[in-house]
């Protein structure tokens, strides 16, 4: 091994180790951490992956997916999004819906991995909501464009704080999807909705190899 590739290897190894430690840390300490710490850790972990030039896009996406999946409560998110319609779904349909909706979010937001341009996230505040949820306010700083305000709503599930909504510049993801799914479900069946999501996911998978 020449000196150059040795350097490369060492660098790669140390990054892997760091990520490993970060993942372990967030897994073991999340229970004790408050909502703000959870958002901070998640954002830091995601930015670390995005900024890691030694990873290919697909690897980045896979790692970010793992981080996000660990801190988002997709079942609650799905219930909130479907609201009253949730009960219309059979347990099997509910399961399918959660899976397809999760995949939809992953597919559509995973695209941004390729356009990462040194954005950073800073926490600007937090507050407790009347029902015990917490809202953590953040700002995405972009080097050559206006900041983007992103709020996260978190709920405590089994002593862990998990994200149940993302509010971008005042637009709640839950409210936005609720309006869309409500529209679809007034004129068609839950099966049709799940099928629509499935089709969209199959079409939108950009990094399928």
């Amino acid at each position: 091994m020449d000196k150059h590739s040795q350097h490369h290897f060492l660098f790669g190894f140390s990054v892997a180790l760091l990520l490993c430690i970060a993942a372990l840390r967030s897994a073991s300490t999340a229970a004790a951490e408050g909502p703000t710490a959870v958002v901070q850790q998640t954002a830091d972990a995601v930015v670390a992956v995005l900024a890691n030039k030694s990873l290919a896009s697909a690897q980045k996406r896979a790692q970010i997916e793992q981080i996000v999946y660990a801190h988002f409560d997709f079942t609650t998110l799905s219930k909130l999004v479907l609201a009253r319609n949730w009960k219309q779904l059979s347990p099997a349909q509910q399961h399918d819906f959660v899976e397809e909706f999760k995949r939809h979010l992953s597919v559509t937001y995973g695209r941004n991995v390729e356009t990462y341009n040194n954005e950073r996230a800073v926490i600007t505040g937090d507050r407790e909501e009347s029902n015990g949820d917490w809202t953590v306010k953040t700002k995405i700083l972009r080097p050559s464009a206006a900041d983007i305000l992103v709020d996260y709503r978190l709920r405590k599930q089994d002593s862990t704080w998990q994200v149940i909504d993302v509010i971008i510049e005042g637009v709640s993801l839950v409210a936005n999807f609720r309006s869309q799914f409500q529209e679809i479900l007034t004129s068609s069946s839950p099966d049709h909705l799940i099928e629509l999501l499935r089709e969209k996911n199959a079409k939108g998978e950009p990094l399928k190899s």
Binding site: R84, S130, A145, Q180, K200
Partner: protein, 253 residues
């Protein structure tokens, strides 16, 4: 996108039409928790028309523009046109009694017009004089005027009766219609529109991909965004918060 340059009579006609709409079904739309859209048929037609114009005219032009123009130039042009919105933002801050923000806007305009070379650069933001997003629709909302029904305007896109009416006074306040020849005004507007669109090519594509029902997604995003702008990002009221997040009891049997 904002106004073209209609004549005064057109302005007047629009004002009257919009005021008429604002008086009538606004209350009814407010009762429903879902996004009120009493003229959905018209809106969907207009939305489709706008999308056609966007897809077949604006996007191809903006794509070429995006390829030809260095990103720095695109940003500078966007800064330049933002700077020209100074009277709109400042006057609407004054109308909402946000005097500190209005003072900051004046400082921002002064800095960016001089140090920022006629507004092509934005040193003011680095100096803590941040840009504000204000317009007459927000001013009306600030003083309690309800948004009224959702309204998709031709070419201008998603709006509402209140916000659509607000475009009229804002149009009068725009810097360039008043003392520049119409040819330059129209050309400047064209450059503004194409340049702005060129900066959002990816975002719009993503929004289309991310939505299951694009029309509803845009309508809901518009309504939420405007509400947030009117109350300057204040937390949702207890009722709204409960409607959105406390449905577990009904949902879990």
């Amino acid at each position: 996108m904002t106004t073209m340059r209609p004549s005064r009579t057109t302005f007047l006609a629009i004002v009257l039409a919009l005021l008429g709409l604002l008086c009538a079904p606004a209350g009814a739309a407010d009762n429903q928790r879902s996004d009120g859209d009493p003229i959905e048929g018209f809106n969907r037609g207009m939305f489709w028309f706008n999308d056609q114009v966007d897809t077949y005219v604006l996007v191809p032009v903006a794509t070429v523009w995006d390829k030809v123009m260095p990103n720095r130039v695109q940003r500078s042009l966007a800064n330049f046109f933002d700077n020209l919105r100074f009277p709109i933002v400042t006057v609407n801050n004054l109308l909402q009694a946000k005097f500190k923000n209005a003072a900051s806007d004046v400082g921002r305009f002064a800095v960016n017009t001089t140090v920022g070379v006629a507004g092509f650069f934005d040193p003011a933001s680095d100096w803590g004089l941040e840009a504000h997003n204000e317009d007459f629709g927000q001013t009306l909302g600030y003083w309690g005027v309800p948004p009224g029904p959702y309204l998709v305007l031709p070419i201008l896109g998603p709006s509402g009766v209140r916000d659509g009416a607000g475009l009229v006074p804002d149009g009068f306040m725009a810097v360039y219609p008043w003392f520049i020849d119409i040819v330059y005004t129209v050309s400047a507007r064209a450059v503004d529109v194409v340049n702005t669109r060129s900066l959002y090519l990816k975002q719009v594509e993503e929004a289309k991909a991310a939505s299951i029902d694009y029309y509803t997604a845009v309508r809901n995003a518009y309504i939420q965004r405007r509400k947030s702008l009117v109350n300057d990002g204040a937390a949702a009221t207890k009722e709204e918060s409960e409607d959105l997040y406390n449905i577990d009891k009904e949902v879990v049997e």
